[in-house]
Subunit: 325 residues, 2 copies
Amino acid sequence: MRIAVDAMGGDNAPDEIVRGALLYRASGGQAEILLVGNEEALRPRAGGIPIVDAREVVGMGEHPSTALRRRSDTSIAVATQLVKDGKADAVVSAGNTGATMAAGLLILGRVRGIDRPALCGMLPTTRSRAACLLDAGATMDATAQNLLQFARMASRFMERVHGRERPTVGLLNVGEEPEKGGRMQLEAHGLLREAADIEFFGNVEGRDILRGTTDVVVTDGFTGNTVAKAMEGVLDVMTDGIRRDIFGGPLGKAAALLALPGIRRFRRAMDYEPYVSAPLLGVNGVSVVTHGRAKARMLKLAIDVAERSVASGLIEAIGAGVSAP
Amino acid sequence: MRIAVDAMGGDNAPDEIVRGALLYRASGGQAEILLVGNEEALRPRAGGIPIVDAREVVGMGEHPSTALRRRSDTSIAVATQLVKDGKADAVVSAGNTGATMAAGLLILGRVRGIDRPALCGMLPTTRSRAACLLDAGATMDATAQNLLQFARMASRFMERVHGRERPTVGLLNVGEEPEKGGRMQLEAHGLLREAADIEFFGNVEGRDILRGTTDVVVTDGFTGNTVAKAMEGVLDVMTDGIRRDIFGGPLGKAAALLALPGIRRFRRAMDYEPYVSAPLLGVNGVSVVTHGRAKARMLKLAIDVAERSVASGLIEAIGAGVSAP
């Protein structure tokens, strides 16, 4: 197995990306790694990992499809092309998510039977296991049929890559009752209830996401992205508040010393790094997206997810799933 | 001025509701209060506040319009009818939000020129002033035109009731760039940009809500409700985590003693009670909704908001605003 890593993508590229690849190798990872990016920049850091040269980078703030159309030689396009050409089995990137999605769609295409792609937002839950919130931002104007396909893809992902048996699926909605929501949610509820290959739990609300009420929470890409960012916003504000208000002054600093084991416990519980990487579901090849802020450890974990996705036959399972009743 | 209070609505009715009315009166509130609900239950508690009898209650879990259709004598319907009949100037309820909305629409009707109502979700921000997230759940399948009306109504509300000059409006979206979002957001962006009576800031993201980037964040009722509940979910999980993980054990308890002033500061910063009450915007009369968990203080604050809404001519301002260019 061979995994192409976009070495130029993300806020901490290329240093932390290369370090992540080295960490993967050092921890006994089975796949061969290809670092894709500026050869001169990467060579001194790469520790002998093979490099595939790419002269350009899509910036974090750039418009994805414009950037890909103008320059064919970007690290994400070259890395994705390696998968298309059978020279790699998966691509991993911490770069511009829109560009990774656009490259996936343009170069790899969609899995036969899947109309639109979806991005898993993997979140920690209070039940100490990750849940997948999808679509986290790939498909804005999703239909009920799209949501049904998202639910199928995420179910296969949670089975194959996260080892869940019969993962449960909740439809994100404004209330638990089946008649809640707008037109699209009503229709999606009906489709999900009828689907034999999905363990449909029913409607779930925003507060259920972190509670881990279901393994998968399905919604359209607009809602999913907005909700994920709003949740991240609360987390940031709370973390700042704890740091500044509670543990800020001299008394607070003394309290922090006493509370240190607890603070560590709390940090571990809130740690989303092990989960955050996920494949872009629906494209015809394994393309794993991780956080733009990823450092070495998260990058290594993203490569793990790519390895498990390839080894478990995720793409084939998705392809077989969409022809289900 | 006279304000009808639904004394039977909410998790803590009628005790805390009546106590809230008494608190309002004791703190020098200018409006006369009418308590609406079961006379025998209210009489011993009411401290002389006039009671309007209503035999029935809409339960917190009941289907709102069904409940209102079946029983004409519910406290929320009777209280709203008092406004319709000119016997009260405003209605306040901590009860079933759907029932308060349904009663508002059925009994008071809409302001001329407003197609759909919207509910303000008032949130604290790190800039120490509240922001209004609307629609927090009144109109599921909102159009771009609906969002324009929501933005206008919320602007008048923030001016009149919260004393903001030229309140800024952000469109909730998946990115700052004008071309982001789905079809509806694209169209709404154009309409908001062209509106002369709105201080349009541009697109804002989920994380901007608590940062207070704008005074108003406008979105459809499905997204608004889902986002608000997801944010509440993170807050709950974080609060539990702080209590259990950080301040849980014996060392943690000692730390909590040291950190007490800080914990109080943090609680004050996170305190949303002063903000949470808001009128249902777009109905032809002042109808203020507060949290189902409201106790006396929140109820008193909701009556304050009703008083300010009436005194400032909010409904007339909304009616005048919709005929603006």
